[in-house]
């Protein structure tokens, strides 16, 4: 039999929960509206203090207020505002924050057992661009939690030139894709001064580090890396060969074209694809025949990249493309037609309907 008493209790509970949920939702709505108001008021107050910094007799008080703001509940918002200040003013504020122990508190929080407390502290330190926090941020890249590692990488990105390039390059390829990509992005922002370190990593690093070093060198486009990238084309790891082939294309040094061209025969498809792409970027018309042959490669990506490369080469590629129109391979014919059309040569092929 059904236990009616239990049923009534269940119902009462449910009704209670519905009522509580409704009350909670309303309370939350009121709270979030007030939060918005409070945030706005805080920002107005903080900006007023920034203005007061230029008045000598108000400066001490303003710095105290700003420090209180940065260490309060809107710390991140305050830190973002501080970041936008002019360098001299910002350094004044950071000094005040250091003197009042605010920076030390965030450094301590960055070692908290609670992951979001660590993340928050790292984020604020990154926004403030406190030079003393660089070792902490680098250390946080080794944090056990991926979210914290991501925030640390983000903060280092915010600090830009103040980060230690040697330590950053040393961390390449040690972490998951998102963190490695952030570290790589920071290295790219640092520019050519990381090139010697990257060249060394390309020679002696782990396969993942070599891969990232090649990618970054390609983005930096530093001519000093050409020789090392050329050597990396013979790397036993396909990922490294492919990244090196791509990077050489970005550097676009014609002397490397024969080396890249040899990779069109690589057993791994994405190495061949990047080699084809690079030949287009290098722009040496000596290799149009090889690119024409790549239109019949067994990999779609290689064909597609070869087609794009031939389009980039322009007029010298037209005879090869015209010959490819007669190819027994359907895709090679289609590629040739698309490339020639793009180059302004009218092509008549059967309707697309018959080809798909």
């Amino acid at each position: 039999m059904i236990d009616f008493q239990a049923l009534v209790i269940t119902l009462a509970l449910l009704l209670g929960v519905v009522a509580l949920t409704t009350i909670a939702a309303i309370a939350n709505k009121i709270y979030s509206n007030r939060e918005e108001d409070s945030k706005r008021a805080f920002l107005n107050h903080l900006r007023k203090q920034f203005l007061l910094l230029s008045i000598p007799e108000e400066k001490v008080r303003a710095l105290r207020e700003i420090a209180a703001g940065v260490s309060g509940r809107w710390s991140q918002l305050a830190a973002e505002e501080v970041r936008e200040l002019e360098l001299e003013t910002r350094l004044d504020v950071i000094r005040a924050l250091e003197e009042r122990g605010v920076v030390a508190r965030f450094l301590k929080d960055s070692r908290s057992r609670l992951k979001w407390t660590r993340a928050h502290a790292l984020r604020v330190l990154g926004e403030l661009k406190v030079p003393a926090s660089v070792p902490t941020l680098l250390q946080a890249l080794e944090d056990k939690d991926p979210d914290v590692r991501n925030v640390a990488a983000r903060s280092l990105g915010r600090m830009k030139l103040q980060a230690a390039e040697e330590a950053l390059v040393g961390l390449l390829g040690k972490h998951e894709q998102s963190v490695s990509a952030r570290i790589a992005a920071i290295c790219i922002e640092m520019g050519p001064r990381t090139a010697p370190l990257l060249i060394r990593t390309l020679r002696d690093g782990t396969p993942k580090a070599r891969f990232w070093a090649a990618r970054i060198l390609g983005e930096i486009k530093d001519g000093r890396a050409t020789r090392s990238l050329g050597d990396a084309l013979l790397d036993p790891e396909a990922d490294v060969r492919s990244a090196a082939a791509w990077a050489i294309g970005s550097v676009a040094d014609r002397s490397t074209a024969p080396l890249v061209q040899s990779l069109l025969r690589d057993p791994v498809w994405f190495v061949r694809a990047h080699a084809a792409e690079s030949l287009g970027k290098i722009g040496d018309p000596a290799f149009v025949a090889e690119l024409g042959a790549a239109l019949e490669d067994r990999s779609w990506w290689v064909r597609r990249n070869a087609m794009d490369a031939l389009v980039k080469l322009g007029d010298p590629a037209k005879p090869v493309l015209t010959r490819a129109l007669e190819s027994a391979d359907r895709f090679a014919r289609d590629c040739a037609a698309e490339a020639l059309t793009t180059l302004g040569v009218p092509v008549v092929l059967p309707p697309v309907a018959g080809r798909m």
């Binding site: 059904i2 939702a25 939350n28 979001w116 998951e176 990618r215 289609d334 698309e338 059309t341």
Partner: protein, 483 residues
């Protein structure tokens, strides 16, 4: 009828049915409550991640994966141009937009040609996936270099998507509907799980919101508002409940079987591996996700299908009962069809939690739900009015089904307020709370009949796609806000 004249076994059967229905309802509410709790924690985690995420850096990154956005369009003349413009202007470092005009009989293609200065071009496309319906032409834009329009004979959405996959260049593809508008950083948000774990993540879906009634400017929702149309307003709360309170929880267990075709991002190589979209199914998006789950588990490869709580796009929902009925019947038929096709997951020992959680959940509560609810709504009042059932049980049943439903809906509204708080006016908020209670007497019962119709169609072998009339964003824009 005199109860005394009925045989004893009749009372026994009635009692057993009553208990079964009550146990079913209790189990359903318990499961939904569990999912809500899971959703809450997952939402908290993802919101914290969002708070510390740096989308600006992702947008500028040299290492963000390029994405092909696929837009199948069949008779979408009213919305296609707005939608394509919205996708083209998405904040993302490298993306291409491939619109497939699936043999539209209206002027969808003509409008696209005119608006984007399209010219027909030769194009080399690979045949990664076989496609039904001949390609009539491939167009490129003079003003938007990353726009490709494929004009093909009508063969259905699946074939249009497969054709778009063949034409696409990038390793990730995103499917959207032509009547969708996006948050500016929708792609940046949805790609994040891929950037964090590119080897494991194979598909990501985001939260779809109702566009009706919202203020839309230049392909962007600038002011989310509740629609004045009652049916559409009910759907606002329904979407919140489905996305926030249920899919998030299932996703946390890697058991999410539905990613809305309105906006999902997939790894192309895996989709090609399983043969792309199938046209012999009703809801191709769900069938594909199920096939991906089954394939990855069978081949014992680690993977995840992720649902993000971020509201990333807005879609127009039906505003008339007829259109809603057709849409819901189609969805339910698709659900039944897909689950039936992949029923072998239940006895495939490689399927892991999918055979114990995911599939049973959809079978028992999503598919069987309408039948058990109907039995409950019919048998229990009849039994009550015939005097076989205690009034307490009867009212208890009604209250249980209503209050638990209201609790879930209000919780979903609460979660939305707690997380994104997009509906800013007190009027909209109060209305959503009201709808959360009211829908249990009205809208839920209405959709129950639509879903039952789908079960009947399946039994009778009837089927096909419903047709949705689009108001177009211009009209949606004209709808005034609620007080």
């Amino acid at each position: 009828m005199n109860a005394a004249t009925l045989p004893i076994w009749f009372f026994d059967v009635l009692n057993v049915v009553s208990i079964v229905i009550l146990v079913y309802f209790a189990a359903l509410q318990l499961v939904l409550f569990g999912l809500l709790i899971l959703s809450f924690f997952d939402m908290r985690r993802r919101l914290a991640q969002n708070f510390y995420a740096d989308y600006e850096a992702v947008a500028k990154s040299h290492f963000t994966f390029p994405i092909s956005v696929l837009v199948p369009a069949f008779n979408e003349a009213k919305t296609a141009v707005d939608s394509v413009r919205s996708v083209l202007s998405l904040d993302y470092p490298q993306h291409e937009v491939i619109v497939v005009n699936d043999g539209s009989t209206d002027d969808t293609l003509a409008r696209l040609i005119r608006e984007f200065k399209l010219t027909r071009r030769e194009a080399a496309t690979r045949l990664s996936l076989p496609v039904l319906g001949a390609i009539r032409g491939i167009y490129r834009s003079e003003i938007a270099p990353n726009l490709v329009v494929v004009d093909k004979e009508h063969a259905g959405k699946s074939e249009a998507l497969n054709a778009a996959i063949n034409v696409s260049r990038y390793p990730l593809f995103c499917t959207i509907d032509a009547d969708t508008v996006f948050q500016e950083n929708a792609l940046l948000r949805v790609v994040r799980p891929f950037l964090e774990d590119p080897d494991k993540v194979i598909a990501v879906g985001g939260q779809v919101r109702v566009a009706n009634g919202c203020k839309v400017e230049r392909g962007r929702v600038t002011e989310p508002r509740l629609p004045q149309n009652v049916l559409a307003a009910f759907q606002v709360v329904e979407y919140l409940r489905a996305f926030v309170a249920s899919r998030l929880g299932l996703s946390a267990m890697n058991n999410l079987l539905i990613l809305s075709g309105v906006f999902s991002l997939f790894r192309k190589d895996v989709v090609i591996e399983v043969g792309g979209y199938r046209s012999d199914t009703i809801t191709e998006d769900m069938e594909l996700v199920l096939r991906l789950h089954h394939h990855m588990r069978r081949s014992k490869r680690p993977y995840s299908v992720v649902f993000l709580p971020d509201p990333i796009c807005w879609t127009e929902v039906p505003q008339s009962i007829g259109a809603l009925a057709r849409q819901r019947a189609r969805w339910h038929r698709g659900l039944l069809h897909s689950l039936w096709r992949h029923r072998s997951i239940l006895w495939d020992k490689n399927s892991g939690s999918l055979r114990w959680i995911g599939l049973p959940y959809y079978f028992l509560f999503e598919c069987m739900g309408p039948i058990v609810e109907l039995v409950g709504y019919i048998i229990i009042p009849i039994a009550y009015f015939m005097g076989f059932l205690s009034p307490l049980y009867f009212w208890a049943f009604l209250f249980l089904s209503v209050t638990s439903g209201a609790f879930l809906s209000i919780s979903a509204v609460f979660l939305e307020e707690l997380s994104f708080g997009l509906y800013r006016s007190w009027g909209d908020f109060a209305l959503m709370i009201g709808i959360g209670v009211l829908e249990n007497f009205t809208y839920r019962i209405l959709t129950l009949f639509f879903r039952l119709g789908a079960v009947l169609d399946m039994i009778l072998g009837r089927g096909g796609w419903g047709k949705q009339e689009r108001a177009g964003f211009e009209r949606a824009r004209a709808v005034p806000a609620n007080p």
